[in-house]
Structure formats: C-alpha cells, structure tokens
Symmetry: D2
Subunit: 143 residues, 4 copies
C-alpha cells in the first residue's frame, strides 16, 4: 500500500480523507475519524455499497476496512521519504454482523518493529457488538 | 453471508451476477465468470473503484473478492432451503500487485465438510502473476 | 481436541496438569498455572524440548502452547457430556523470541458463541516481551 | 528460526536430521524425508509425544511440524552466510485428525521473494486424508 508523502498523526483528518475520494475507500464510504500514536479509527456505512444481496454487511467489506486503517496507521508512523508500508498478511475472524447504520473500526498497533508492523483491528456494529477481529501485518520496506 | 435461494452450479452466470447489482460486488465491479463442482472464478477491475491513492490495487479489494467467490461457491454446493454458509475466518498473503486491467480470482474448495467449507483463493494480475493467496473458511449452519 | 469429562474452572490446576503427562504437553513441559471465566494461563520451558538447533525457541512450540490453552479453555466452558471443542483454525504472528527461562502464555476468550470460541493468546518471554500473538478458533460440536 | 550454516538441497537428509536431535523436532519425532527445489517433506509419529489426553493428534503438533519444514526449506534456499529465515506468520486450518501411525507433511513454496517466502504445508494421515493445511510466512533478513 503505497501512501501519500508527508503525513503524520498531526495531519488533519480531513486531509487524510480527502485523498481517498477516487479510491476503494471512497467507493465503500470509509472515513477516518481519529488517529493517535497507537491507533486509527474509521467508520463505514452498512448500505448497498458494502452489503451482499441479502442486505447483510459483506465480510469482505470489513476486511477492506481493516486493511485500510492498518495501512494508514503504518504510513503515519514511518518516514515516507525513506520507507513504504506494504500490506503483507491479514487474518480475520468474523463473529457477528450488521444490517444498517455504520460500523466503527479501531486499529491498534501491537508490534511496531523495524521490518514489520502488526495491527489488531476490531470492528463493531451500531449496537457496540464486536463483529470482526482482524490482524494485519505490514512490511516496512526501504524505498 | 446469506445467499439467494435456488442456485447451483447449473444456474446461468448472468443470473448469479444479476443479483449483485446493488451490493459490494457491484460497487467493486466483481463479475463471476465460471463455476463448477470444485471452483468459482471471477474478475475485478483495477481502477478507482479498487485502488488506493497511489493507483495500486488495494489489498482489501482482493480480500473482498476472495470472500465473495468462496461465499458463492459454498452457497452453490449446499441446499439453501436447509443451510446457510457464513464467512467465518479469512487468512491471506499479499505477494504482488496490479496497477491496471483486471485481476482474476479462482476459488478451489480444499475441504467440503458438513460443518465447514475451506477454500483456497488465488488471485492473479493481467500478467498472470499470483498477487494474493487466501484461505476462506465458511461455516455451514442449519437454518 | 477431545477433552477429559467433568472439568470446569473450579477443577484444581494439578488435576488439569495431571492428565497431560503422556501427551504433547508433557513432552514440551507445558504447565497450566491459572484458569478463570475468561482466560487460561500456562508456562513452557525454553530448553532442548522446545528450541531449534541454534538454541532459540521454535515458533512451532509457541503455536502448540497457544492451541493447548485455548483448547483447555473451551473445554472448561462447555458441558463435555453434550459438546466437544475442536481446534479449527489458528493464525499467529511471531514478533520476538526467547533463548532461556520460561515463556508465559495467556489465552483470553474474545468470542464465546454457541458454535465457535475465538481466543486471543499472547505469549511473553522472561523479560515480559510479547513474542507471539495468536488467534485460535475452536468449533463447539454436539457429541 | 536460526538455522545451520552450509546446507542446501544437496545436503544429505541424514545430516539435516542429525542436528535436530536435541531440539523440538527430536522431542516430537519429526524426521525429514525429502527435499528438492520447491518442497520439503517430513513425517511425525502419532503417539504420546504428539497427542492430547484422548489419544488424538494435537493440532499444535501439526503446526510445529508445518513451521519446522517451512523453516528448513527457506534455510535451504538462501545463502545462510548472508541471510537468515525467520518464521513470521502462520495460518492453518485443521480439517481432519489421526490417532495412530505417522503423519506426512509436504511444504511447497508458493512465493519465493527477496524479503519473504510463503509456504503451503499440507499434512496427511496414514489413510492419505488431508488433516491440516497451513500457510507459513518466513521473513528473509540480512545478517
């Protein structure tokens, strides 16, 4: 996941969202809502952009959301002039679902190494139920 | 992943694609291209619907594609009046990328049990390079 | 993972350990140290039973440890006369290592459903560094 | 997984097995049986060294076996004076079991990159049934 140069945890959220307009994130309605030194939070709508034919949130939408915010987080924590963060491995359990409203995802870094970042991403529905829990491994590669 | 009743491997591909119009699959341009007793194949465009800000295919789009065709495959192989296939676990390695054209995904069932289906999903770019290899576990649940 | 009948979180730890004598757990020196309503803790020695040729803890020993305590936890939380817990899926990140002493693993249940239990297992070395973080999915099956 | 210097696919199998004597592999009875340019094969006994209290093969033993042969394979394919292969991520589905005899595992490399090797490891019981299918990701790191 190549990212945009010159961003860090002080970059305004609006700027981080602005570059997503013509991307998968725009297509799915994903919006970042908060970033800090350990986590990134975002929301995604449960509607025809993200559901399967029965109107239930598609598990794959959750995976896209998880990989998105883990990717942003790694980009925020490295010097993008020197390094790139590349999504390498994802593992997820789907344990609930959503049929309306927004889901909220929070990525928390559990390993911030020189070569890899490992993130835990928990996604909850509007009722606060955990519906997916994901692990995303990003490789940190010298440009 | 609730699915549409009364489909099997003899259902015309156009019908399988038709129900995806107002879904995540429609949003990402995913189209099924072939189904048989062991596999499901589909394509997905690499364009602003599926890329990240640098114009590279988003790993999360691959995961959505993988879970989509594994979900269809399980739905095709069970009696939907009696059972539902629910995406339960996904694990994936991203090992390449794509910046244009279409990617092609093939899901092959590696375990067709009473309680679970396990699928291997390989995704290749236009040059035929393997860019993602995924394992999708679906639970088969009595209605 | 078939388990021993009639155990729950009030079963003495010595009894839980006693049945492991002629098993993988005995072979690796795994010992349960605590169980409660949400977690199971165990230790494993870092010695010739669990290391690779260079004397470093083998990642596979960590996986065996993780699956062991998640399996015990699920067995403790179900009625074993009616159900069995079967290890179904494991995903793990190795992010550190150990060369001596004991490692300590703590399994915490993150989803306790009717059909599946999902556990997070964190394993730390003697210095308290997180060296492996694992997700174990057990299926709960009627006998 | 640090490995032994100066080994490649022409190293006699007996030598590869000899260094495992005082290791996890020795403890579990794991023996390499064949190596070539794309795969590594090994066996493991199903007995009190590898089973759980009910006498069934422990899923964790399979994971140890999978990580072992993927680790050997990566070590065989790199120059160990310059690089080290480190087990980084493992994901596995358990889909069957064994109660006696030997299990046979075959690791096949599906991505041999500069920075990572990704292996598929299939493990079969004496009847030839696939009982575990695993993905092992090794990082290739400069010494």
């Amino acid at each position: 996941m190549e990212q945009i140069p010159n961003i860090d945890i002080n970059t305004p959220i609006e700027m981080l969202n602005a570059v997503n307009q013509n991307t998968l994130m725009g297509q799915l309605g994903i919006e970042y809502t908060a970033v800090d030194e350990q986590s990134v939070t975002a929301t995604m709508p449960v509607d025809k952009r993200t559901t399967q034919p029965m109107g239930i949130l598609h598990g794959g939408a959750n995976l896209a959301l998880a990989e998105t915010i883990a990717g942003l987080g790694s980009a925020l924590y490295i010097d993008l002039n020197q390094f790139t963060a590349v999504g390498s491995q994802v593992a997820a359990n789907h344990i609930g679902t959503a049929t309306s409203g927004l889901v909220t995802a929070k990525a928390t870094i559990i390993h911030q190494g020189r070569r890899t970042h490992v993130w835990n991403v928990d996604i909850c529905n509007d009722q606060g139920d955990l519906i997916s829990s994901c692990r995303v491994t990003n490789m940190i590669i010298e440009r």
